[in-house]
Assembly symmetry: C2
Homo-oligomer: 396 residues x 2
């Protein structure tokens, strides 16, 4: 092998999902795309809002091309950072300045900057199952280890009872993904306040900060009038990470930001390192045109109705069929409990009816499968008879 | 300190250039922007070609927004990769398929993917002075060490005599930047063939491949009808890295690619790792709209005249004044030999006349300063009297 040891593992691990995706394409070639129900990917199907195109035209018409497409400071255009800060201040009662905002290559880019800045060899990052599987790769990129708190499969809130024993001197960060991918659950303010109590106490014992990473690309995708608590209002040592991928249906453009409150411990040191990391990881800066675009689109509401229709129909129908489904209040994912102990068998059975589901063991939650309902409503409707046949395999 | 040890060094190191940049801004505020001659940054001033805007309009008019801005395979859109492969095959007599091309977040993104894939702790990457200082950060990101072959200040070609003793079992890659930043020198086919002989022999001795990274964002910026040899035609185990930043004046958009010939040792293993690295480093994929844009702009020639005018005027005038200038045949940089032994003193003296130059010790070439002439011709003309005064400090 010429590739590095810790890359070998990632390559091996990544083949499962790639295989699923390719099987879906293969199936579509055989039985027609309309007869395949691919729920594997978080690629938003809600149309890109027209304001995005309007913003592009306006920028290209009125700003010098060498500025639009040129280098700026590694943290981003000053006026874009100012607009983001103002928007966060207005929405969440914060007190950010432009210099507290770093424009990033999506939330994933921001998280890599944090780990590049903070992790030494064998340092630990904690997250709560179920969790987005790529967290393991991001931590592993810089020699760290991801430590997983097992899921509380009663409530799917944070399993706080299991957290404290996992914190030690090597703990540098805790990732909180709210609303959660893959469960769709929203963590409540009560849960987050309890989390804060545990962290504050643990920091005293271990003698250094534990930074909470609030990874919130789905923040605005919540249903039934709920709101998602703003973590930096509850937990002092926290970074807020956002991506426009989901709300504006721009996942391919890689545009997001990180907000760092001046209240965190070692603010100066940390923010300097984050900006250098943004440069030296090769992002250099978040893509320039789309920095300018999102600054003009900060107040566009997410297309909640698009996803809510899918959520409601699927949840009702699947439950009626006999499946046990974790009730999703946010994001565009839901977890179905596998009717057989081995979820891989359930996933295989799904394929018989051209339904592509992802085994949730890759999200640290064995015994479940994840379904991404960010697809067209039409596909959801067409999939119901297939799910019925799948249900009949288990519940008769 | 809460930041990681190897980040501390990078943050400390990066302050020199940031200081220069900020001093330039400060100066401009004091004496007026027109009276400051900032030669510090490689931000291309040649206008963005109108074909870029045309391509954007065409794409937005004729392609579904959810495809334009959506996820695709981590390696990029298939048709974009095919267009890049075809173009490389046509221009350089290669035999690439679409699957050999990975669209990347600039050349810097591609290089980070290579190091993430290949480097284990304390592995070594060799480069030749003078070199782009960020290489050190990219290698350091993944626990590797950059080993620098000292400059051959006679010819500024590769100092091959000094290379062989630096190769050992830990050597994984050699970076070649052609044309070179900061010297502007073009490495000849003869030099590269000799390099190949050394590598082939060394590979036999150490028992594993040494991959050459051809970092060529300035490939099309060569003057006087010269051409730059295509390294994968000369060196079997090589990666070709390109960025559209300079040719199309799009550095802020972070768009480039990597081409990997099927001839390299361990092709399957390496290309899989590179694609996974592109995802897990948080790039996920190169920005989607600009993938589609550059695929339509592959044959747009660089605006050579824009930079050549600057090059010719500066080289002639500075030489006439008594400065010793390394003759630049490519890119948009030139090296001036410091008329005093300590180039920092020369840089400081430049500031007296509002000329911002970068000490070349950060490029591994002490005793020289770098000048980036990718600025407006008007600024070049305005700077000549200031350079004359600077020359008078040394040569009377």
């Amino acid at each position: 092998m010429v590739i590095s040891k810790n890359m070998e593992r990632l390559v091996a691990g990544s083949s499962t999902i790639r295989k699923l995706f390719e099987e879906g394409l293969q199936m579509a070639a055989e039985v027609g795309a309309d007869n395949v129900y691919d729920f594997s990917l978080g690629n938003p199907a809600s149309p890109v809002p027209h304001e995005v195109r309007d913003a592009i035209e306006d920028i290209l018409d009125n700003t010098d091309g060498n500025i639009v497409h040129g280098y700026m400071k590694n943290a981003g255009f000053n006026d874009v950072r100012k607009a983001v800060a103002d928007s966060l201040n207005r929405k969440n009662g914060m007190n950010y300045d432009a210099e507290d905002i770093i424009m990033t290559c999506g939330a994933a880019g921001g998280m890599n900057c944090i780990f590049r800045s903070l992790l030494g060899l064998d340092d630990e990052v904690i997250t709560f199952a179920p969790f987005f599987g790529e967290y393991r790769s991001y931590v592993c990129n810089f020699g760290g280890n991801l430590v997983v708190v097992p899921a509380d499969t009663e409530t799917f809130q944070l399993n706080l009872a299991a957290l404290r024993p996992l914190i030690n001197e090597k703990t540098k960060c805790i990732i909180i993904n709210n609303p959660n991918n893959p469960s769709g659950v929203v963590y409540t303010e009560e849960t987050l306040r309890k989390l804060n109590d545990i962290i504050v106490e643990a920091e005293k014992e271990i003698g250094h900060p534990i930074y909470v990473i609030a990874d919130e690309p789905y923040r605005e995708l919540v249903y039934g009038g709920q709101t998602v608590p703003y973590i930096p209002n509850i937990i002092k040592n926290s970074f807020f990470l956002y991506s426009f991928s989901k709300t504006l249906s721009l996942p391919g453009e890689r545009i997001g930001y990180m907000a760092v409150s001046k209240n965190i411990d070692y603010y100066d040191e940390v923010i300097s390192a984050l900006v250098v990391a943004n440069r030296c990881l090769g992002y250099i800066n978040a893509p320039s045109l789309f920095q300018l675009v999102v600054a003009r689109c900060l107040d566009i509401p997410a297309n909640l109705e698009f996803y809510d229709k899918n959520r409601t129909l699927l949840y009702e129908e699947l439950t009626k069929m006999g499946f046990e489904v974790v009730r999703p209040d946010g994001a565009f994912y839901m977890l179905i409990k596998s009717p057989t102990p081995e979820e891989d068998d359930f996933v295989a059975m799904g394929k018989k009816y051209h339904i592509i589901l992802v085994p949730a063991k890759s999200f640290g939650c064995p015994g479940y499968v994840r379904l991404a309902y960010c697809v067209s409503h039409d596909m959801i409707k067409r999939s119901i008879p297939a799910f019925k046949k799948l249900a009949e395999e288990y519940f008769k």
